[in-house]
Amino acid sequence: MRTKKARFITSMVTYGVVIALFIILTVMIDNKSISRTLKGQLIPICSWIVMAVSLNLVVGISGELSLGHAGFMSLGAFSGIVMSGWLLNGFQMEDPSLRLILAILAGGLVAGVVGALIGIPVLRLRGDYLAIVTLAFGEIIKNVMNCVYVAVEGKQLHWGFLTNELPGTLLLNGPMGAVKVKAISTFTAGFLLVMFTLIVVLNLANSRSGRAIMAARDNRIAAESMGIHITKYKMMAFVTAAVLAGMAGALYGLSMATLVPTKFSFNESINVLVFVVLGGIGNIPGSIVSAAALTILPEKLRFLQNYRMLAYAVLLILAMLLSNNPVMKSLLKKLIPWRKKPADGEEAMRA
């Protein structure tokens, strides 16, 4: 039974652990007692945590499978890069922190606007159709980003679609993506973005709107009969997640020297989905742990490189079988007696 109090404690522990880890890691960086590889991974880890938590808002809390989450990350990354380049070249804004903040906001804004435009038609669909259409949008975003050219000349931004004959310095170069990006992302910024994401998602989930989102997920007809506008609340979750993914993209994009649009393919969307599923659908702290662990582990286990995706695939299937098959579920309960009781009301509801 998850009462309000239990949920409050979980949230507080989550915030506490994230803050503690940040402090420990910062101290370790100052003491130079952290490996170079891990240090280089800190910002990507923060980005993937934000991606996983925001996708969990859609998959876990809103109950819709979105297969195009990397598309929003892509939009955020490239608009963040353009924003940063524009501010630097056009306005000589040297302060990297301010530029980073504005870039992250721009990334969130662009992803949010596109998320809203996509959400209006998509969220009328259900189940498998919705999933496949989000996949389609993700691929369309990837394809379109491959054809977009942006150049900056003074304070002027020039856009080109399928043409790179633009005046000034190219910021985005179609399929070549962004090159010579000034990496301005910092671990502190990453930590703050993770905290921001947690506050948004956890507070949203434990509010009037969050309850409406979950009601729409659990029983569509009952929720509508209680006067809850299903599409509105699905949209709220979807767009919020898109904004957060865009911000994560900007953070990620501005930590790299180069970035190509094909980086954000369907595979990346599935990667994030793996984080969510293995951390537990609807379980926010779980997403953080699995996103962090599954970003660090592959680096540590480089010799197993070829088996990584294979292992992910097997884990995905096993996770689903163990959590959804009645026989497996009872087996699991016998093996791990202290595991919290699975929801027995669910079957009755679906019947």
């Binding site: 259409v133 389609a136 369309i140 995905l316």
Partner: protein
């Protein structure tokens, strides 16, 4: 002439989509699930043919038959291991499992055959048909593809309307519970559906790689997704719908690439999917032909 040539290429590509789409549409109609791994069964089928023909030097037809047998077994195994335990689960869980299965197949293939693309051999050795004094040349593979599509389509329609198993399939797709009460073995029917779909996938794999002879572990995924688009386009659950949807989609893709932009070819196909789902979620033949299989 260029247009005509594009059109023929489109119909050929569309025929491949149509054969793949049949697998999606039948499984969706009967098991009510999107078998995301279907595209990867195609890839497995193509690799088997490649190995049989290239390494063991078997004749083309024997290779194809071996591939069909392997894919059939693979399809049934996937269904038994991964999907059957989830009959009562939410569509979210089933779809995630299917995505996992797709990745499992791709990465197993990666381990076995490696990431480097294999050049698919020219197995059929067909002549090119020259029309209009050589202005329009149609490759033999294209004609075989189109013919195969028509034969498969007719055979499947006969199967579902004439045979006992075919009728059982239609019953299960209409109402699984009622079919069970009528003594139809639902599990067996679903297995047979997967078997047929997977055997067709092997044929599709052969045709796909004959026309686009680069074979790698991800070969099946994009055509798979596009074929699902075709199935939705034509009306999910409908056999003629899968054929119509597949061919139209193939034409749209080739013409889009030729006249709009090569880079945006895929984007155009997906845009079609989105528009169809929003304007007519039941697809072109979804309602008119009440033949749910």
């Amino acid at each position: 002439m260029v247009f005509l040539s594009n059109l023929v290429n489109g119909i050929s590509l569309g025929s491949i989509y149509a054969i793949i789409a049949l697998g999606y549409t039948m499984v969706y109609g009967i098991a009510k699930m999107l078998n995301f791994a279907h595209g990867d069964v195609i890839m497995v089928g193509a690799y088997i043919i490649f190995c049989a023909a290239q390494y063991w030097n078997l004749p083309f037809i024997v290779s194809l038959l071996i591939a069909m047998a392997v894919c059939t077994l693979l399809g049934i195994t996937i269904e038994k291991l991964a999907y059957k335990p989830l009959r009562q689960a939410t569509s979210l869980a089933v779809l995630i499992t299917a995505i996992g299965m797709s990745y499992l197949l791709q990465n197993t293939a990666l381990l076995i055959w490696g990431a480097n693309p294999k050049v698919f051999p020219d197995l059929m050795n067909l002549n090119t048909l020259q029309l209009f004094d050589g202005q329009l040349s149609i490759k033999g593979e294209i004609l075989v593809t189109i013919a195969a599509n028509i034969i498969i389509m007719i055979a499947l329609t006969m199967f579902t309307s004439r045979t006992k198993m075919g009728k059982a399939m239609r019953c299960v797709s209409e109402d699984r519970g009622a079919a069970e009460l009528m003594g139809i073995n639902v599990n067996r029917t679903i297995s047979v559906t997967f078997a047929i779909g997977s055997a067709l996938a092997a044929i599709a794999g052969m045709l796909l790689c004959s026309s686009y002879p680069l074979l790698q572990p991800t070969t099946g995924s994009m055509p798979g997704i596009k074929a699902f688009t075709a199935a939705v386009f034509g009306g999910i659950g409908s056999i003629p719908g899968a054929m119509l949807g597949g061919i139209l989609l193939g034409i749209i893709e080739i013409l889009g690439k030729a006249y709009i932009s090569t880079e945006l070819g895929d984007a155009i196909v997906f845009a079609v999917l989105i528009i169809v789902l929003l304007v007519r979620p039941t697809g072109l033949l979804g309602k008119a032909v009440r033949e749910k299989v």
